[in-house]
């Protein structure tokens, strides 16, 4: 982002509020600073950092005021999104002055708001948003890594979804495993704790595939992995992420940042 300054967040909030309100009712002018029924706040998230050199994360929230004349009608957050960059330094070259690099953008809420906020940022700071697509290879990595994480509380099942292109409609195969079993398998595959190599991931997946094949006679290796869901987080190849466990948040975000940066370059 060009000429983004953390000091002007309040100003940005005002402008963005007006912009969102104007976009929502096309053609109707909106005075900046007015009580619009829609309030956007930009704030910093101080804890969301990997290393000290990372840029501070920015949180954007759109709250709409309810129209009902209750006195303590609170603002309901209808959309939120945040920019962050976790441990991105070793991957990015030194970014010159005037430029702020926050490579990951996560959004939660209606797509229309995402579009509006995104276009405002693009127009104001000359940045570029693109969808993060996760390849099956990376999804497999995620499956392996997240299965290996220790989770104390209740573990949900580990689920892998595969897609087979068929006519007329694509066929989705969902493969669910008990997380304890998956973890046990992974523990046998992984040689050094804390390190994951490509061969280990491949081995892990091959084991799963062959197990499936034994029962159903379907070669999953020929299909395309589209979704991985573990007790820590779930990820879809379109970029939909669900983070289920707050303890591993930074880890998941680090991985996603890495993917984002590799997609940019």
């Amino acid at each position: 982002m060009y000429k983004f300054s953390y000091g002007n967040l309040k100003e940005y909030s005002r402008l963005l509020s007006a912009f969102v309100a104007a976009e929502k009712q096309k053609g109707l002018a909106v005075e900046v600073g007015n009580d619009l029924g829609i309030k956007v706040t930009l704030s910093t998230l101080l804890g969301l950092k990997g290393t000290d050199q990372d840029q501070v994360a920015v949180l954007v929230q759109i709250a709409s005021r309810s129209q009902l004349p209750f006195e303590n009608a609170e603002n309901k957050v209808v959309w939120s999104g945040w920019f962050c960059c976790i441990s991105g330094d070793d991957l990015l070259e030194s970014v010159p002055e005037d430029f702020t690099c926050l490579s990951l953008f996560l959004a939660n809420g209606a797509e229309s708001y995402t579009a509006i906020v995104g276009s405002w940022f693009q127009k104001t700071f000359d940045c570029y948003f693109s969808r993060l697509t996760i390849s099956p290879l990376n999804l497999a990595w995620m499956a392996a890594m997240w299965t290996g994480c220790k989770v104390d509380s209740h573990m949900a099942a580990t689920e892998l979804v595969f897609s087979v292109p068929c006519i007329p409609q694509s066929l989705d195969i969902s493969y669910a495993i008990h997380s304890e079993d998956a973890k046990a398998l992974w523990d046998t595959v992984q040689k050094t704790p804390g390190e994951v190599t490509q061969e280990e991931v491949n081995l892990f997946m091959d084991c799963l595939y062959s197990h499936f094949h034994r029962h159903f006679k379907i070669h999953l290796s020929a299909t395309r992995l589209v979704k991985v869901s573990t007790s820590i987080a779930s990820a879809h190849c379109d970029g939909n992420i669900k983070i289920l466990h707050s303890k591993h948040l930074i880890g998941v975000l680090t991985l996603l940042t890495e993917l984002a940066i590799s997609q940019i370059q």
């Binding site: 060009y2 000429k3 983004f4 300054s5 002007n8 100003e11 005002r14 402008l15 007006a18 912009f19 309100a21 104007a22 976009e23 096309k26 053609g27 109707l28 002018a29 909106v30 005075e31 900046v32 007015n34 010159p96 005037d98 430029f99 797509e111 995402t114 579009a115 995104g118 276009s119 693009q122 127009k123 104001t124 700071f125 000359d126 940045c127 570029y128 948003f129 693109s130 969808r131 940019i264």
Partner: protein, 744 residues
């Protein structure tokens, strides 16, 4: 009435009369009490008086003056139907106005009359409709006309018509400072619903940054809330947003095209006439700033459509949002909004305070901003453009991401725009280069072919060994497996590439005085190496291509074209001599060009040696010499295919020559027997021995060889002449020559 000294001459009728009204008044004071009837009577008298003098001068001019005087004086309400005088004067004014236009003073008079409410509405309407300026409109007359609006005597429809007239004639008003001062007055007239659209249009023309105040914004927003989404209000609010985005925000619906009703229609024909007549002295019409947005043709999810952003001012300017610095306003140091940049002269005037648009990608469409980029040395600009372009190219590439295949047309247009920008700036973009390196291995050679090949020609100069795996290998793969047309296109783009490198280098030589400016890897030897390797590469693929395509002449044309561009190249020509084999079946044109190439290269090389200091290895010199000798051997001494030790030479074993079953092989390439030059030989023989029906080529030797040579020179084969004279040292004039020392 006094006779006027000047302006009798019809030629002078077009000139602006600078006389004051007092000249008329002097004449009138002698008239007496000013009632309408008396006036008309007086006018009748004067008309009679005038009729005599009419023959002398310009009668229409007089009539006009009379009419103007009449209108100036009239104070009471006169119904049109009954008063013939009024009708007559009105007709005069109308006809003259339509023919020539009215002077500023005349306009002043008529405006005052029309808006004062003295006359009937129909008269007022007719007057306003014929208020066509001959040259300019005085600002004072407009101001006084506006002041009549305050009195409130004229009817609503007249007011409306006046506003429309003002909008239509806006460009003809000479100074506008007072009008700007009246901005607040016009703003108040927004109340009136009927006038509102036209007032908005007028305000649109008058608005400057200082005019945008918060209370005005509030007023307009309230109006909009009351009246709904009127296009004129939207337009005015958008203009406000343009100047002060921190006060108001509005998003225009995508499909709107026209915002203001056309006020010009009544006067359009007349205005065009005036403009044509004044031809450049009249001001150009102000273009609406709300330009045509890029139409969104298809419904796509946001940000998946390839849109070049429109130029919009950077709202993210910290100096603007907070307290307005009054000193700044006074010193006019505010920046010039980018949307208003339409002409080159505007660029020159405002170059010190121009800001870049908030999205750098929008400069691609704007040639004026590209000029500006050329002047500015700010790194961040290039960086912004680099990031944006890199991302866009990657995301929108149709073979990179399979989803994008349907949007090929848009991608093609985008690549076209990038190419045009590169040609304009005369340098390539590094983001474009990286995109090519990434995508060429995946390219099928078919999609967006011409665009990609053109972009190849703008790859910036760098070490060839770096380029080789990324560019040359995929390109070579595609090259060998594709059609003739593709091969020729590739050769052409490589030729352009070479050309661009050489051009760029020439420019660098001028700049070399400042070592900071020249980037890395551009030493002279680096250039020579890269160029040499490129030529080598092209030579290689060209040879193979010729084999594959069976020496197609179309291909040959492109190859020769490539070699011709090396005339300015300081390195030596590496001729791939296998091409000479193809010369067997060459039509004349190519052979000639080939020789011209060779000769010109030699000539240039001699010149260049004195200018630049190159370290040519002796090896290259030897190669060059051998080529020359081979050529000379073919052409001159009838000793083709002999002793050529060069590995790429054209030495052929005698057995192979026998197989070709060409008789007299040794002779077959000299200047007489060469297929390309045989036509000339025949003509020569016919001229020399017209009686002789059989063509005996062997006659051409000895003295006649020289004649033949002269004949060829006369026919215009200058290239040949140059080559022979520079390469061949004739031992004796009379006897047959030997190919002697090859001069280097």
């Amino acid at each position: 009435m006094q006779q006027r000294e000047n302006a009798k001459n019809p030629k002078q009728a077009l000139q602006v009369r600078r006389s004051s009204l007092s000249a008329w008044q002097i004449g009138e004071r002698t008239a007496g009490p000013k009632t309408a009837d008396l006036k008309s009577a007086q006018k009748h008298e004067k008309g009679k008086q005038q009729s005599a003098s009419d023959r002398a001068g310009n009668s229409t001019q007089d009539h006009l003056e009379q009419a103007l005087t009449y209108f100036e004086r009239v104070k009471d309400y006169i119904p049109l139907k009954k008063n013939e005088v009024l009708q007559k004067h009105l007709a005069t004014v109308e006809s003259i106005a339509l023919q020539r236009g009215l002077s500023p003073e005349g306009l002043d008079v008529l405006l005052n009359v029309a808006l004062s409410g003295h006359l009937a509405d129909t008269v007022n309407t007719r007057i306003l409709k014929c208020l066509i300026p001959a040259s300019v409109i005085a600002e004072s007359s407009v101001v006084s006309a506006v002041s009549w609006l305050c009195v409130g005597k004229c009817s609503g429809s007249t007011q409306l018509l006046f506003l429309r007239w003002l909008i239509a004639m806006f460009d003809f008003i000479d100074h506008k400072e007072k009008l700007h001062a009246l901005y607040g007055f016009f703003f108040c007239s927004l109340q009136d619903e009927k006038l509102c659209p036209y007032v908005c249009h007028l305000l649109y023309l008058l608005t400057r940054r200082e005019s945008v105040k918060p209370f005005r914004v509030r007023r307009l927003v309230d109006l909009q809330a009351k009246m709904g989404m009127q296009p004129h209000l939207q337009a005015l609010l958008s203009l406000y947003k343009l100047f002060c985005p921190e006060l108001v925000s509005i998003t225009l619906p995508a499909k709107m095209k026209t915002y203001f009703k056309n006020s010009e229609s009544l006067w359009k024909a007349a205005i065009n006439t005036i403009r044509r007549r004044n031809q450049g002295t009249s001001p150009t019409s102000q273009q609406l700033i709300l330009g045509t947005g890029h139409p969104q043709s298809r419904k796509r999810k946001w940000n998946t459509q390839l849109i070049l952003p429109a130029c919009s001012t950077d709202a993210n300017n910290p100096t603007r949002s907070k307290e307005i610095n009054h000193a700044d306003i006074l010193s006019h140091s505010e920046s010039f909004p980018v949307e208003q940049l339409h002409t080159f002269s505007q660029l020159l005037q405002n170059i010190h305070r121009l800001e870049f648009p908030s999205q750098m990608g929008s400069v691609l469409r704007n040639s004026l901003l590209l000029h500006y980029i050329n002047c500015i040395k700010d790194e961040s600009i290039y960086l912004r453009l680099y990031y944006w372009m890199g991302q866009t190219l990657q995301e929108e590439c149709t073979w990179y991401k399979l989803d994008n295949q349907q949007y090929e047309e848009e991608f093609k247009d985008f690549l076209d725009i990038v190419y045009k920008t590169e040609c304009f700036l005369q340098e390539g973009f590094s983001s474009c280069e990286e995109f090519l390196y990434k995508s060429l291995p995946l390219w099928d050679g078919f999609c967006c072919r011409s665009q990609i090949l053109r972009l190849v020609s703008w790859i910036p100069l760098s070490s060839f060994s770096e380029m080789k795996p990324h560019l040359c290998e995929p390109l070579a793969q595609l090259f060998f497996t594709s059609s003739l047309y593709f091969k020729c296109s590739v050769l052409e783009s490589l030729k352009e590439l070479l050309q661009n490198w050489l051009n760029w280098h020439v420019m660098q030589l001028d700049v070399e005085s400042d070592p900071k400016i020249s980037p890395l890897n551009t030493t002279l030897s680096g250039l020579v190496n890269s160029v040499a390797e490129l030529i080598h590469f092209v030579g290689w693929i060209a040879t193979v291509a010729l084999h594959l395509e069976n020496n197609a002449t179309f291909l040959l044309y492109f190859i020769l074209d490539f070699y011709e561009t090396q005339h300015s190249c300081p390195s030596l020509v590496f001729i791939c001599v296998r091409i000479q084999r193809a010369l067997k079946s060459l039509p004349f044109v190519h052979s000639f060009r080939y020789r011209t190439n060779l000769v010109a290269a030699k000539e240039n090389e001699l010149i260049k040696k004195t200018i630049l200091q190159f370290k040519f290895s002796s090896q290259t010199y030897q190669e060059y010499n051998q080529y020359i000798m081979a050529m000379v051997g073919c052409l001159w001494t009838s000793s083709a295919f002999q002793k050529d030790i060069h590995p790429q030479g054209i030495r052929l074993d005698p057995e192979v020559l026998k197989k070709t079953r060409v008789q007299e092989v040794r002779n077959s390439f000299n200047i007489v027997h060469h297929p390309a030059l045989m036509g000339y030989a025949i003509l020569f023989l016919q001229q020399a021995w017209p009686e002789d029906k059989t063509l005996n080529f062997n006659l051409i030797k000895g003295r006649r060889w020289n004649w033949y040579l002269e004949y060829l020179y006369v026919q215009g084969l200058q290239g040949l002449k140059l080559f022979i004279e520079s390469s061949i040292n004739r031992v004796s004039q009379v006897s047959q020559t030997k190919s002697g020392n090859v001069q280097v």
